[in-house]
Symmetry: C2
Subunit: 507 residues, 2 copies
Amino acid sequence: MKVINQHTKHSLRFRNLGIDANQELVVFMPASCHVCKSEGFQALTRLSISFNGFSIIAGLNITSDGLLKEGEISLSKSAIEKLNVQDNDLLEVAHMEPLQSMTNVRAKLYGNTLHQQEYDAIIQDIADEKYSNIFLSSFVAACSGSNMKLEEICYLTTAMIKAGNKLEWGNEIIADKHCVGGLPGNRTTMIVVPIIASLGIMIPKTSSRAITSPAGTADAMEVLTNVNLTLSQMRKVVEKESGCIVWGGAMKLSPADDIIIKVERALDIDSEGQMIASILSKKAAAGATDCVIDIPVGTTAKVRTVENAVSLSLRLKEVAKYIGLNIQTVCSNGEQPVGYGIGPSLEARDVLAVLQNIADAPKDLRQRAVTIATEIVKLVWDMEEQVAEDLVIKKIDNGEAFTKLISICEAQGGFYEPMHAKYSKTVESATAGIISEFDNRKIARVAKLAGAPEAAEAGIDIKVLLNQNIIIGQPLFTIYANSPGELEYAYEYYKHNEKQIIKLSYE
Amino acid sequence: MKVINQHTKHSLRFRNLGIDANQELVVFMPASCHVCKSEGFQALTRLSISFNGFSIIAGLNITSDGLLKEGEISLSKSAIEKLNVQDNDLLEVAHMEPLQSMTNVRAKLYGNTLHQQEYDAIIQDIADEKYSNIFLSSFVAACSGSNMKLEEICYLTTAMIKAGNKLEWGNEIIADKHCVGGLPGNRTTMIVVPIIASLGIMIPKTSSRAITSPAGTADAMEVLTNVNLTLSQMRKVVEKESGCIVWGGAMKLSPADDIIIKVERALDIDSEGQMIASILSKKAAAGATDCVIDIPVGTTAKVRTVENAVSLSLRLKEVAKYIGLNIQTVCSNGEQPVGYGIGPSLEARDVLAVLQNIADAPKDLRQRAVTIATEIVKLVWDMEEQVAEDLVIKKIDNGEAFTKLISICEAQGGFYEPMHAKYSKTVESATAGIISEFDNRKIARVAKLAGAPEAAEAGIDIKVLLNQNIIIGQPLFTIYANSPGELEYAYEYYKHNEKQIIKLSYE
């Protein structure tokens, strides 16, 4: 598996077949290729592909039936972008050097404890996209369950920070918040950031887009303003307003984590160690000094029991201490969606309602935002609970937090009112009873089938709460969509899963 | 991840793009596809693809740039073969049902011991090709190192046997042999089978082709005769001659193992549990009752230390007992290649030389074959060592084993003499000294670069042995190839690695 010598590099002519294999770097060569034959390349072999002084490692797929001619080579979309090649460019192909860091993964699988430099090597190779999905999966498996000691989570977190960019703000205190996730409508960031910024505490917030949910904070914020800022644009906003809410995906804060997370999702493996490293490495890389972490607990949330939340909370604090980050955790109720709306525009509308003190603004969303903002103030200013909470509530009540959000939006590129979806349908209860359970995951799925988050206006608006008495024909929620097909589609899914989505108990 | 209901199946028109992703089943859909959008399919999502009453599970790659048009769909080669589709066929696409058996893999990763029915579920899903490479990798990882208890190896072996075909021979005693591998030129099967068959013991041998080595037994046997027999053809040969040597790849003896082994190789993980299950499930599925297993031990062989060989041997015996297979193990010296030739034709020539009692036939190859055949006779007939060995040696010395090999070849389709390669080059020692080490892996690589096993006549012929005194200019080995390019290529690799391939120590 070594590069033999200079003679074993082979030039092949690039032709774009237009194949997107997502994050995976794939090289396509025809079965007839003399290089494949003489080098003994097989499908799945990892090859080094070089062009113009740059090189990547890609997994080989062998094509037949004339898709590529002898002497031609193609690459998947992300590989093309990395190498910046065009049709007819000559690429050099060679066996890849053996991946030394896989030795560490194997050692971990064999039960050894890894040290800092071993995690560094693995994470750097992952960030450099040298790991195939097979390698990534074995690493995720090696770190799953309770296989990682506390010290190893510290090393992994440190390695992830080292392998990415780190933002510097030139300020002693940088506040941040994070939510462990899994709770639809939990859009507190857009309320917390203007409160904290209006108190004069710097909070340069980078948020993510939805991956499997109907809306991420970046999606909801994008309803109101531009979130695709460069780092220097972000700096200007923060200097002016003390805070911002931008999309963090392009900042490469923890590139290895972005890659690992996709494989974890495919495997449906939630490793506590990986989760802690993922959260804390991104906060540290974003330059945070003080961070509050919201852990919603519920049977269909990411963290399912209070015991798990307590264990996660303790470990988060220990690892945070190791990397020099000051954190506080908040275990919150995750048994039902937050606010009314689920979907970017509907959630943005709820946020504006809370900040504008509108009479029927969602009380739970307000309360959750107040709790988190209060914890941030306590953390940063070492203040008593009641004093901190009074400060926070005042910023909502006197409209300063609202004004701050509008100012932040203006600084990011202008403020726009949320738009309405073209079509809607209100779902009424077919039976009577008391609401005993919401299935957060299936509720999210209805909103996604309606078109969220791609269609920002799509989603659902929930009109009922846990433990509420429901009569026959009472409106439960409204579905919003931009096409009649999507509306129907979401409704059909609901009708098929009606009894699990909102469970009623009878007296 | 569930099939929502009947309405969510979508028909798309098939177009063959001619992409071979090896064993992996891949589905290609254009980024513009309405089904991708409305179902929220992402790259790497596992989809259920149905046609004509059959369905497969495939991983999604998303294509762009007009390779596929909206409404079109394509599949990788193996997926096309499984579904037997042609251009313009309409395929149905849906989210796959969640893979229940992955719950067991996760449980294993979390440190639980799995039971028979849990291994059954995993292995059946793997045999049904429902596991993506990511899933396979996590299973291999979960079973690696010392993670499997002895009882679990028994369950895994049993599960692998259940998931494949089992050959029945209607005979009380069915002898077999196996070599753990990693030793070039160790072509004992072609000597052992005719000896055992000529003693009247039934030995219906299924062998493999080379995967990473310069020759498998099936490749070397194919030099002399046809090895691609159907099961009924194989039966006729065995009924007539008591033995055969055919390619076992098409018999589906342990289909899950064939899939797992490719991922193990990519990960370079040798799990003792998987290795034992792999070996024994194939022997049991081939209908063996009594089997001798050769374990070559050497620094560049598969098993590197005597301790590992002893541990492997003990576990093999315990698992064999559990599944009702009578075995004996032979730990042999694996410090240098066996015989002279490496490559299908050269190895077949060595085999014929031994069976024809030619004066300079390789003594080590003869001795190893005698040892294994003797162990088979002892195992089957419960006989004393010396008596058994005398019987075995007599069959070589009196030419009966040679006659039997020719008869087996005739029954399999005719006997052909090995051919010679067109080009050759003899490598001479540049220094003097005593041979202290052979690197089996690098020696195998020289033979492969010369063209073996695709070019049956290609390979190398070694002229020296461990501990032999070498003078400057003494011929070390001859490279054989069918093209000047391959000859040169193999020679260059040798020159670049000269000192590791055959290590000389100086007095």
